[in-house]
Subunit: 187 residues, 2 copies
């Protein structure tokens, strides 16, 4: 499959905390590194890191700069290449606007969740869309997952990973890796 | 598939550094958390964390204790449950001895690598062994991967993930998640 038109977004707001309240979470270093490496491996075009907080944008900028132009760039060129696809943004609206502007096709927004939702799309059906070159945006939530207002904005939701397990608490880094492999992996 | 007899080991020695020398690497907090959560989700029996260094065993013990009996256990019971499958050990020999003792069947040791090796086993063939209730131990390396002396001790090696990508630098946390999903995932 050549040139998938697939982007990924990690949302830090609005997400849920463990009691189900809507919160904004903090950006973590490992989410930038692990997810950009997985995204780059599977040919994802862009990894959006969404947070409305200005100080968090500064933190993302400092981390990326270290690996793009600082000591990190010389010590680890592979890390530089992965982090080049990271783009800090304010919110989902900004991402959709950027992916829509100047393009004929509307981006198909797919949310992910540890629970089942009504407007489910199977992995196979989403693979078909990707193969048909329909631009796809995959949404992942930090903390305890994407808030309902984000779920409502999505065109569809992927089924939860390993829902029949008696333990269902994957890290978002694991979930991204597994979902990219299910959709784009050559097995 | 009921009760897979599958264990996982993350080796910190002997592994390779980026110039191909054999080294011992440091234990990282996230490797304990992310990998135990993925392992627990997919029904892995035991997650061995192997390092010969005594101070690293103390570090592992402190991290696990915090989540098993400290404040973390009350704040996050799901994390407690995941970390309960972690077992610090000295080396691969200790793991194989533990998995062999008192059992009729020899454990089938499978290495993982970002490169191709001669004694390859396909994901399908390994799934068959798991379904036949053959005990399997999956080996993962930190740093730049398992040293040749470990590869030689393995009964087989899984093919690299996404080997045809122009970027092949997944984190070990991503690699574990993807391989568990390929072998044990309900799709």
């Amino acid at each position: 499959m050549s040139q998938p038109m697939i982007s990924l977004a990690l949302l830090h707001h609005p997400v849920l905390n463990k009691t189900g309240e809507t919160i904004g979470s903090a950006v973590t270093n490992l989410d930038l590194h692990d997810i950009s490496r997985a995204a780059r491996t599977y040919g994802v075009n862009r990894y959006y890191v969404a947070t409305p907080y200005e100080d968090q944008h500064e933190l993302i900028g400092e981390i990326i700069d270290h690996w793009q132009t600082g000591h990190g760039a010389r010590a680890n060129p592979a890390r530089k290449e992965a982090l080049a696809i990271v783009q800090p943004v304010k919110d989902l609206e900004t991402i959709v606007a950027e992916l829509t502007e100047g393009h004929d096709q509307k981006v198909f927004v797919v949310a992910t969740s540890a629970r089942y939702h009504d407007n489910e799309i199977s992995y196979g059906a989403l693979q078909n869309k990707i193969e048909q070159k329909i631009p796809v945006l995959l949404l992942f939530g930090t903390a305890h997952g994407l808030a309902p207002e984000i779920m409502k904005q999505a065109d569809a939701v992927l089924p939860p990973i390993q829902a029949d397990s008696d333990y269902n608490h994957l890290s978002v880094r694991s979930a991204v890796s597994i979902i990219l492999d299910r959709l784009l992996g050559n097995k």
